[in-house]
Amino acid sequence: MSEPVPAHLADRQIALVDLLDRVLAGGVVVTGNITLSIADVDLVHISLRALLSSVSALRPADG
């Protein structure tokens, strides 16, 4: 039996932006009608929308 692997590896602090560079733009892209969905995500689109929604969202103090 393999032992459980911790959810986050190593001590590296992964900045979200560095991660998004890779998981959105990197990795194998598999398209075609056998796929249910490929989110061909546009980082510009995300960053603008995320910026707008993060500015306008009400955030409760207790998170």
Binding site: P4, L16, R22, V23, S47
Partner: protein, 257 residues
């Protein structure tokens, strides 16, 4: 029997190695494997309510949701890569069912095999470079009184000086970035660049002039980091930042999508 929630199959990575048990995926699901053609597709069952096509388009625009899912996706890939060479799959690749996943393994097995060989024994490292901000000359001290003669002319002279010094700094930085990229690429099996990062997400560290990834032999990792530090010392116009180790995201796709 629990209610039948429609699910899709989220693909994390393709590998040849055994995959650690008890990994948790993007939807909190147990990660499992679909085998075919001597390959193992690392997958998880995800509810279509949040991970189907329409739901994904909405959810991926929510930075909190995206952040959680991206990190969970990366955590699974990282655990797989720790066991052996693996091809990371782009975020949000969802299939109808296991048969479709097997069909992918079947259709693309040569490509996966090629990539697996290419990344074996190698790790990705990221290097970002920022323009090293020269402090602006203290304009308020040099300023003629606002009503004095020549104040406007003096202002223009200051602005021209600032513009020139900025342009020169950018030219120096550009030369140094090219030199650094060539030096580091020479130590790597492969190198590529990403667009500079969105400042809204990356924060204010100065102007980003390089956002590169290098695929380096595991045995050469220390030497590579040392070279990055050397480049940082030697290049006054730029500041370098090393990130990693990363699974080989930037070197996994062999075909232009």
């Amino acid at each position: 029997m629990t209610e039948a929630t429609p699910t899709g199959v989220w693909l994390y990575a393709v590998t040849r190695e055994p995959v650690p048990g008890e990994l948790t995926g993007v939807a909190g699901e147990g990660v499992r494997v679909v085998e075919g053609h001597g390959l193992a597709a690392v997958v998880g069952d995800v509810p279509l309510g949040s991970f189907g096509e329409e739901a994904l388009r909405r959810n991926l625009e929510d930075l909190d949701w995206l952040s959680t899912v991206a990190r969970a996706h990366d955590a699974v890939i990282g655990a797989v890569v720790a066991r052996g060479p693996a091809v990371p799959i782009r975020l949000a690749t969802v299939y109808h069912d296991d048969d479709r996943v097997r069909a992918v393994l079947d259709e693309r097995h040569a490509e996966f095999a090629h990539t697996l060989d290419f990344v074996t024994g190698r790790t990705e490292w990221g290097v970002k470079a920022y323009l090293d901000q020269q402090p602006e000359p203290d304009e308020s001290a040099a300023r003629a009184p606002a009503s004095g003669r020549g104040a406007g002319t003096a202002y223009l002279a200051r602005r021209r000086a600032a513009q020139t010094s900025r342009a020169e700094a950018e030219d120096r930085a550009r030369e140094q970035v090219i030199a650094v990229h060539n030096r580091l690429a020479a130590l790597a099996a492969d190198a590529c660049t990403h667009p500079p990062q969105s400042r809204a997400l990356a924060g204010h560290h100065g102007q980003m002039v390089l956002n590169a990834a290098y695929l380096v032999e595991e045995s050469a990792a220390r030497g590579f980091a040392a070279e990055v530090a050397r480049c940082d010392d030697e290049c006054a116009a730029i500041r370098l930042q090393l990130t990693g180790p990363w699974p080989p995201y930037s070197f996994a796709s062999l075909e232009e999508s």
